[in-house]
């Protein structure tokens, strides 16, 4: 393809959003684009956005599905504003125009802008024909008909041929980013290896879209992106849910325990269940239970029987599991609970992300029932946090919750592939056969963990359960002082984890005017905002928390060094109130957003600037 007459623009990053009707294949086009970007050596971050319904009414704003990808040299978020919007129908234009950068490019499938379609999207006139899009670079492309012509050459019939329009659009984007189309061919070949007609028609459409964008009549400029500024190593693109599943598998392998997952499908956590169900060759046992309670209770049974037991869920599911979590606390069995947060309460907004389950993770059980709570900060971090959650749960013989969220769970980023042997070792306190001194609640006074005596082992028969037990011997007991002692042990055991997790770090200014505090999935946006202000010379630092319960032991030392502290989170203030409780000596300001959307970098900078 001759592209010598095309202008080349160097950019640090470019944000592309594919938007269309649910069922238009936007998630597929976006995923293929991200994977191609990864193969091209770019850093990336993705943000799938789709309605909760599978096929909502055709051509309506409610039915718009989108997939946003930020690619470039160093990328921490999926991007505030979109540089290039692909919109397959009027509804997807209406739903996404507000996020397109002024001066940005809009690629519209002109075939789908019929009067009926634009009226359904709320337009009085065809937005492609009036002057309403004058502030953007608008390209009206008959994508459906061009895709149809291309795909029919490969033997696809009318309907199938038209459906390759998403891939035609992807071809155009590949051309703009100057990506090697062969890499995408390779991805398509893997996806459709058993469906030759679909494969060939998609390849034809991809090529046709690429060539169309290359053609000089459009005089589109090409974007040249820097390669990722990241450490040397072997990389892949990964979503948070897959990374979570793999982190759990790594922990099971490293600890020598069989992995058991008891779970029930729920958006947006289901991909973890599906991924582990696929990894049977590693000996993973996956049980799809009859309900959420069955998921966690089977995991508790598995833990009693000696497995590294896991249950995965999202908000409403965690509500259902709470009674059983108390059982795991009092029986002092290891258990990993992964909660992929979504908009709540109740069913709330299943496909939208927020951080509103922190209170439940920390406090949502009857009695004094403390649990370890960790939070992942990005898709790739899910791997490490899942690994650590499992490690400390097993080593301290206590249940632990990992909080991720829908955006990182389903969004993806680059992941540097570690070697399992280089991960920290995991040594669960497994009781030895015929140990005459074995007692169910005898503790290692360093970790306060009791021993894990696995059924089938000789000489360790014992009984545990939901009733309070005596220290040491583990007899059923309602003795007042014993109950107080055991309650304190269970709390102290969780606090002991603080002695082993890393100290909290601060990026940017180490002491000064404003400390920005955040946790979990807001990492990318907050870190970018603080970095940009710090680069401007502002006295600002950032502490991003991944260890919530217990907090790192230097937390107060960090807080002391700043005049003002602001806590940013996607809820109404759950972490900030927890900090007010644990570290009451400081004054905390807070910035909250609860719209099912991530923070924008610019909005955060505006907030911080007002404090500086």
């Amino acid at each position: 393809m001759d592209s010598t007459n095309q202008k080349i623009i160097k950019k640090d990053s470019v944000v592309v959003k594919f938007a269309g009707d649910s069922g238009d294949g936007m998630q597929l086009a976006g995923t293929l684009f991200a994977d191609t970007a990864a193969l091209e050596g770019n850093d990336l971050s993705t943000f799938p956005y789709y309605p909760a319904e599978i096929r909502p009414p055709h051509n309506t704003v409610a039915g718009v599905s989108g997939f946003q990808v930020n690619v470039g040299g160093k990328v921490l978020t999926s991007g505030d504003e979109v540089d290039i919007l692909v919109c397959m129908n009027p509804a997807s234009l209406a739903a996404n125009l507000k996020v397109v950068k002024i001066g940005g490019t809009i690629l519209a499938d002109a075939d789908n802008f019929s009067e009926k379609a634009y009226e359904k999207a709320g337009y009085k006139n065809n937005p492609l024909e009036d002057d309403s899009l004058n502030s953007y670079r608008l390209l009206k492309v008959p994508m459906t008909s061009l895709a149809k012509i291309a795909a029919e050459e490969a033997g696809a019939d009318g309907r199938l041929a038209e459906r390759t329009r998403n891939i035609f659009a992807l071809g155009m984007i590949l051309s703009i980013c100057d990506y090697d189309i062969e890499k995408t061919f390779h991805l398509l070949e893997k996806k459709f290896s058993s469906k030759p007609v679909i494969l060939e028609s998609n390849k034809k459409s991809l090529l046709s879209g690429y060539a169309y964008a290359d053609s000089s009549e459009l005089s589109l400029s090409k974007v040249q992106l820097p390669v990722a500024e990241i450490a040397k190593g072997r990389y892949r693109n990964i979503t948070g849910n897959i990374a979570t599943a793999w982190g759990l598998l790594a922990a099971a392998e490293r600890s020598g325990r069989q992995l058991f997952l008891g779970s029930y499908p729920i958006t947006p956590a289901t991909e973890i269940l599906m991924e582990l169900a696929a990894q049977k060759s590693l000996g993973t046992k996956v049980f799809q239970a009859e309900d959420e309670i069955g998921g966690v209770c089977s995991a508790i049974g598995a833990s009693f029987a000696g497995a590294m037991a896991v249950t995965t869920t999202s908000g409403p599911g965690l509500s259902l599991k709470t009674e059983a979590l108390g059982l795991a606390v009092i029986t002092e069995l290891p258990l990993v609970v992964v909660n992929v947060q979504r908009g709540g309460p109740s069913t709330g907004m299943p496909t939208k992300s927020e951080q509103s389950d922190l209170n439940m993770a920390l406090f949502g059980r009857n009695g004094e029932a403390p649990m370890i709570v960790f939070a992942a900060s990005s898709a790739a971090d899910c791997f490490y946090k899942a690994y650590e959650t499992a490690k400390y749960s097993m080593e301290h013989m206590t249940p632990a919750i990992l909080l991720t969220d829908g955006q990182m769970g389903q969004g993806s980023e680059l992941f540097r592939i570690p070697k399992v042997s280089e991960l920290p070792e995991i040594v669960p306190p497994i009781a030895k056969a015929n140990d005459e001194n074995y007692q169910p609640y005898k503790r290692d006074m360093e970790t306060l963990a009791r021993q894990w005596a696995i059924p089938g082992t000789e000489g360790l028969r014992h009984r545990i359960g939901g009733l309070e037990k005596t220290d040491g011997k583990g007899m059923v007991s309602t003795d007042p002082l014993n109950h107080e002692l055991m309650s304190k042990y269970r709390a102290e055991k969780v606090q002991k984890v603080a002695e082993r997790i890393p100290l909290q770090d601060v990026v940017g200014e180490q002491e000064g005017d404003v400390l920005v505090v955040s946790w979990g999935g807001t990492f990318g946006a907050v870190r970018t905002a603080v970095n940009e202000l710090h680069a401007e010379g502002k006295s600002i630092g950032h502490a991003h928390f991944g260890y919530i319960m217990p907090l790192p032991r230097n937390t107060a030392d960090i807080f002391k060094k700043f005049k003002k502290i602001i806590v940013c989170e996607l809820n109404l203030g759950q972490f900030v109130n927890y900090l007010r409780m644990v570290h009451p000596d400081f004054t905390y300001e807070q910035y909250n957003k609860i719209q099912g959307l991530p923070f924008d970098i610019q909005e955060l900078k505006d907030v911080f600037n007002k404090m500086l």
């Binding site: 069989q258 089938g456 028969r461 009984r463 545990i464």
Partner: protein, 346 residues
């Protein structure tokens, strides 16, 4: 027939006695409670079943029955209300070599844990469920349960219950159960025989034990157990034997055109050849369902192993899939997995 070869299990090296299964904890059931007899039967039959003692595992939920694990010296787990069946599911999937025994009651498994009950039965996981049915909530002091007969006057039904009770056997067979037996806390020998059969069955064995609650539902099963009624009220099933009952063993069960019929041998031209012969291994559950349902006053109630049909177990299929996956996949370690698919060097 789906019998475990008990000669192939991991056996105790020394002969075990019932003393091996007595725990050090004080048994806190009421004097006269049927649970004492059930506990004694377990201690008697476990040595005979023959697993090494570390491979027995008891799991329970909540209720009077569910204190059971504390009173047997095996591995034991006292769970939460209604969840014994699914906790046990996790135990058995993790370690299929264990002999897993679930102790539950009519509240625990028929009400709050009804969902887990039907699903464990449907999956045919190889566990043994002892369902203590006293038709009352004992531990909360006398409220009606899902098996209380309609009209029962209890603390929460002062005007009598207005609910149709569950018949556990119907529920088991409706959920495609492969093993269902019924026994009585007043017949210790029969209990041990049935428990032994349950242990030999490869699949989910449900043993309903009609149990008396001396405090809140005394003579709960009086219409079946009382001295003057029991001969006509109890049909003691034996595989391969005709279904006879009555003091003279001259009454029998016949398969009529509209279902089961009670006949008297020598009357209306009925002979022993008209009496149904029990086939507990039959795969078709139709007659087993009829047997599970019959009860006085029109019929006797059936006791013994009603159904023991052979079907693959969940845990067998789990292991089979693991073996196949290991043979066919080139992902042998997590490092293989991490490096699978599209990766590149920077």
């Amino acid at each position: 027939m789906n019998l475990k070869d008990l000669s192939k299990i991991e056996k105790s090296e020394v002969p075990l006695t019932k003393e091996d299964f007595v725990s050090d904890q004080m048994v806190k059931w009421c004097a006269g409670c049927g649970a004492h007899a059930i506990l004694a039967s377990v201690a008697n039959v476990f040595p005979e079943i023959g697993y090494k003692k570390e491979n027995f595992c008891f799991i329970s939920g909540i209720g009077c029955s569910s204190r059971f694990p504390y009173y047997v010296n095996t591995y034991g787990f006292h769970g939460i209300h209604g969840r014994a069946n699914v906790i046990a599911t996790g135990v058995k999937i993790t370690n299929p070599h264990l002999s897993v025994w679930i102790v539950t009651g009519d509240g625990d498994s028929m009400a709050i844990g009804g969902n887990h009950f039907i699903h464990i039965v449907r999956r045919n996981l190889d566990v043994n469920i002892m369902l203590f049915n006293n038709q009352i909530y004992g531990l909360t002091k006398g409220q009606y349960s899902p098996t209380s007969p309609i009209g029962s006057v209890t603390k929460t039904s002062p005007f009598g219950t207005i609910e149709h009770p569950f018949e556990p056997g119907e529920l088991v067979l409706g959920a495609q159960g492969t093993f269902f037996a019924r026994t009585l806390d007043t017949r210790p020998k029969h209990m041990t025989e049935v428990m032994f059969e349950a242990a030999r069955h490869d699949g989910t064995s449900v043993v309903e034990i009609l149990q008396n609650c001396v405090i809140f539902n005394d003579k709960a099963h009086g219409a079946i157990t009382s001295r003057d009624l029991r001969d006509d009220a109890q049909l003691m099933l034996q595989h391969g034997e005709p279904m006879l009952f009555g003091a003279e063993k001259n009454k029998g069960i016949k398969l009529g055109q509209m279902g089961l019929e009670v006949i008297t041998i020598g009357e209306d031209g009925n002979t022993i050849d008209d009496v149904l012969v029990h086939d507990m291994y039959a795969k078709d559950p139709a007659i087993h369902l009829m047997l599970a349902k019959i009860k006085p006053p029109l019929y006797p109630m059936a006791f013994g192993v009603i159904r023991a049909a052979e079907f693959p177990t969940y845990n067998q299929l789990v292991e089979k899939q693991l073996v196949l996956a290991k043979e066919s996949s080139n992902i042998k370690s997590v490092d293989d997995l991490l490096n699978s698919g599209d990766t590149w060097e920077i």
